[in-house]
Amino acid sequence: MFPILSKEDLAPTVSKFLIKAPLVAKKRKAGNFVIIRLMEEGERIPLTIVDSNPAEGTITLIVQAIGKTTKQLCSMKAGDSILDIVGPLGNPTPIENHGAVACVGGGVGTAELYPIAKALKDAGNRVYSIVGGRTKELAILEAEMTECSDKVFVTTDDGSYGTKGIVTDPLRQLLTDPQIGIKAVYAIGPLPMMRAVANLTKEFGVHTLVSLNAIMVDGTGMCGGCRVTIDGKMKFACVDGPEFDAHQVDFDELILRNRSYLDFEKISVEQFAAQQAAAREVSR
C-alpha cells in the first residue's frame, strides 16, 4: 500500500498528490512514469511522475479526472492509500545543454513537462516555456514553470487567460526569432497538440521530443497494447519510450488507437458516478 500524504486541488478536475513510494522516489528521473492500481478490481494506468524526493521517499503525481480510474483517484484524500504502484518505468528524458530550448505543455501535460523543463534549466539551457490549456483552469503550473524558465507564454483556447489561441502560436514566434535560436523542443500534452507541434517544428527542422500516452496494461513490455508506429516501425511506448522523436511518430494511428475503449470507459464512468451518488446518499 502506498499512502497519500497530501492532496491539493489545482483546478476543479486536476489534483496534485504527494505519495509515499520510497523505492520509486529513489530511482526516478525526469520522464519516468509509474503504473498504479487503486483496488483489487481496478485497472492499471500509467501516470508520469512529476517530482520526487528521495530523502522523504515521496513522489508527486498530478492527475486530471478524465476516465474512471483518474476520477476515482481524484476522489481520494490524504490518508487514503493506493493499492499498487510500480516504477519508475520508461526511459528517462535525455537531458543535455542545447543552448536554447522550448518546452510546450498542454493541459495536465504541463505537469509532466515541468520536471523536464527544470532538468533542462539545471543543465544550462535557456528555457522558453509555453503553458497551454483549453481554459484558464486547465493552464496549470504557470508559477512552477516560471521558476525554471527564462520566459513563459500562456495560451488558452477560449482566451479566459493569457493569450487566446493555441500553443503553436507563441512557438512559431520563438522558432522564427533567430536571436532566440531554439535548438530543441519538448512537447507534452494531448495528442492533437503534440501533432500540431511536430508539424510546426518539422517546418523549421528543429528536433522535437514528445511523450506518448498510449494505452497500457502492464507497462513493462509484456502486452504490446502500447505499440506505436515510429518511423514505420513498431515500438512499445512503455519500454522503448515513452518519449520519441516527434517527427517520426504516427500520431493519426495513435489517436485512433487511444479511442479503442471509449465505449467501455463511458460505462465505467457512469457506474462510478452512480456509486459515488449512492455513497453520498448513504452518508446524508
Partner: protein, 485 residues
C-alpha cells in the same frame, strides 16, 4: 511391494486407462470453471494398480525434475495420499500445478513401459489426484527449516522457474526474496494460463505454500528499474541472483493492419482476462473488446488458450489460423482436442497476409492465403509455402496474434556483462550459470520459450548451483587466511 498389488503384470495390462471427469463442452464454454475435474479416488486407485512397478523406472528419467513416480504410485496403492504428494514434493514443489499443465504425454508417459503395447499409466492424473486430495483434506504440513543460513538470494520473477528456485533455496535454509514486477505472483501461471486450465485458487494455495517456507515476495518491483542487479549485490546485500523473468515480450507478424483496434497480442488478451479480470467488466475496470468472429493466429498452447478464452467471452465463431498442418502444431494434443470439442475451428495451412479495418479503424476482416508443405526446414518440419493467388478474406472483428514471445530486455540492458544470444535470450551453461559470477538464469529467459516443467528444472538446477556458488565464495577468504597463517 508386490503385496500391495497382487495382480500379475499380465492382469494389470488388461485394465483400461482411467479417464478424467470433464465438464461437458457445451457447459464449459459458458464459464471459466476448470475443464477437467481430474480422477476420483476410485479411478486413481484403479489407475495406480496399472503401474507395472518396473525395476528400471524409465518414467523417472522421462520426468524433467526426476519425480520418484514409481514411489509415489506405490504410496497411492497404500492409500497414503499425503505421503504420495510429499514424495512428489521432494522433487517438485508445485504438484497441483504440474498435475494440470505438464505435457506428461511427451515426458513420463511417453516412455512408460505399459505404453509400448497398451496405454501408458496416467501419471499426470495421479499427480493431480494426490495434490487435490491433500488440498481437499487439508493435509499439507509445511516443512520446518532447521538449518537457517544467513546468505540472501534474490529471485527475479515469480513464474515457475523463480518459484522452484526459491522453494529449493528456502528448503536449504537461505534467506530468499522473490521480486515480481506485476501486482500478483505467479508469472505466466497467473497472466498466461487461463483459469479453466489452472484455477486461481490452486495457484494462490501453491504460492502460499512457497511463502510458508519463509520466502519473502516483493510485488510491484521491476528489477532493472526499481533496482538493478548490481544494486542487489552492492546495496541490498544479496549473495546471488536468479533470473527467471520468462519470455514476456510478444512478437507480432509485421503484416499491415496490426495497429487497428481489435488486434491483440495473445499476451495482452490473456493478461486482460487472467490477471485483470476483464471477463468481469464492469465489475472489474479493465475492459476487453470481443467480436462475433475471432481469429487467433498460431498453433501453440498460448494460441489454444487465447482461442478458447475468446469462445468463453462470447465469440460465436472462434478460429485458429495456423500456417502448417495439424501434425506440426506445437500445442498439446489434449488442448487441441478440448478446443475442437468446444467448437473451435482450425484453419490449417493458412497464413494471414493483412488485417483489414473499417472507417473507424476497427478490425473487420483478415486476409489469408493458403499454404502447402514443401521441403523440411531447419526445425525438421516441412516448410509452409504460399499458394499463389489463393488469398481470401474472413470477416472477423478481433485478431489475436499468438506467434511467440521473447525475453523482456530490461534486465539484459541494465546488467553490464550479462551475455545474451539470439533475441535477448540469456546465455547459460549446464548449471544455469550466466557470464556473470553470482547471476544464474533459467526458464524461458534462458530457453526462449519452453514449458513450465523445463523452467522448473532450470530453477532447481540453479538452486543447487547457487548453493555451490555461495559456499565456494565463503571458502575463498578462509583458504587465503589459512595460507597466511
Amino acid at each position: 511391494m508386490t503385496v500391495l498389488n497382487p495382480l500379475k503384470p499380465s492382469e494389470r495390462m488388461k485394465i483400461a486407462r482411467q479417464e478424467s471427469i470433464e465438464q461437458p463442452a457445451l457447459d464449459r464454454v459458458q464459464n471459466f470453471t476448470e475443464v477437467s475435474f481430474g480422477v476420483d479416488e476410485e479411478r486413481a486407485m484403479i489407475e495406480a494398480t496399472r503401474c507395472l512397478e518396473c525395476k528400471n523406472a524409465v518414467c523417472v528419467e522421462g520426468c524433467p525434475v526426476g519425480i520418484d513416480i514409481r514411489g509415489f504410485i506405490q504410496l497411492i496403492l497404500q492409500k497414503d495420499y499425503a505421503g504420495a504428494v510429499n514424495k512428489i514434493r521432494e522433487a517438485n514443489y508445485l504438484p497441483a500445478i504440474c498435475g494440470r499443465v505438464c505435457p506428461q504425454e511427451e515426458q513420463c508417459e511417453v516412455v512408460c513401459t505399459l505404453g509400448k503395447k497398451h496405454m501408458p499409466v496416467a501419471i499426470g492424473k495421479l499427480e493431480r489426484f494426490v495434490a487435490d486430495y491433500e488440498l481437499a483434506h487439508n493435509l499439507f504440513v509445511a516443512p520446518v527449516i532447521t538449518n537457517k543460513r544467513p546468505e540472501k538470494v534474490a529471485i527475479v520473477g515469480s513464474g515457475p522457474a523463480g518459484l522452484t528456485c526459491a522453494a529449493e533455496l528456502a528448503k536449504m535454509g537461505y534467506q530468499v526474496t522473490i521480486f515480481e514486477a506485476l501486482h500478483a505472483v505467479g508469472g505466466v501461471l497467473r497472466y498466461g494460463i487461463p483459469e479453466f486450465r489452472l484455477p486461481r485458487q490452486i495457484l494462490d494455495i501453491e504460492m502460499d505454500r512457497i511463502k510458508q517456507l519463509g520466502v519473502e515476495i516483493q510485488t510491484n518491483f521491476l528489477v532493472g528499474r526499481t533496482a538493478t542487479i548490481d544494486e542487489f549485490f552492492n546495496e541490498w546485500g544479496f549473495s546471488a541472483v536468479f533470473l527467471g523473468t520468462g519470455a514476456g515480450t510478444p512478437n507480432f507478424m509485421g503484416i499491415p493492419g496490426e495497429g487497428l483496434t481489435g488486434v491483440y497480442s495473445a499476451n495482452e488478451f490473456l493478461t486482460r482476462v487472467n490477471l485483470m479480470g476483464a471477463n468481469k467488466f464492469p465489475r472489474n475496470d479493465t475492459p476487453i473488446r470481443m467480436g462475433t468472429n475471432v481469429a487467433v493466429i498460431g498453433g501453440g498452447n498460448t494460441a489454444m488458450d487465447a482461442v478458447r478464452t475468446s469462445k468463453r467471452l462470447g465469440a460465436k465463431r472462434a478460429l485458429l489460423i495456423y500456417r502448417r498442418s495439424r501434425q506440426e502444431m506445437p500445442a498439446r494434443q489434449e488442448e487441441i482436442h478440448h478446443a475442437e470439442q468446444e467448437g473451435i475451428e482450425l484453419l490449417l495451412l493458412t497464413n494471414p497476409t493483412r488485417i483489414i479495418g473499417d472507417e473507424n479503424h476497427f478490425v473487420m476482416g483478415i486476409e489469408c492465403q493458403r499454404m502447402e508443405l514443401g521441403e523440411p526446414d531447419d526445425s525438421g518440419r516441412r516448410r509452409p509455402v504460399a499458394v499463389k493467388g489463393s488469398e481470401f478474406v474472413i470477416p472477423v472483428q478481433i485478431v489475436i496474434e499468438a506467434i511467440g514471445q521473447q525475453p523482456n530486455p530490461i534486465i539484459q540492458s541494465t546488467t553490464p556483462g550479462l551475455k545474451t544470444g539470439k533475441r535477448g535470450v540469456v546465455d547459460t551453461n549446464d548449471k544455469q550459470g550466466t557470464s556473470r559470477p553470482g547471476i544464474f538464469a533459467g526458464g524461458d529467459l534462458a530457453r526462449g520459450g519452453a514449458t513450465v516443467i523445463l523452467a522448473m528444472r532450470d530453477g532447481k538446477t540453479a538452486a543447487a548451483s547457487i548453493h555451490d556458488y555461495i559456499q565456494s565464495q565463503k571458502n575463498v577468504p578462509e583458504q587465503v587466511e589459512a595460507k597466511v597463517s
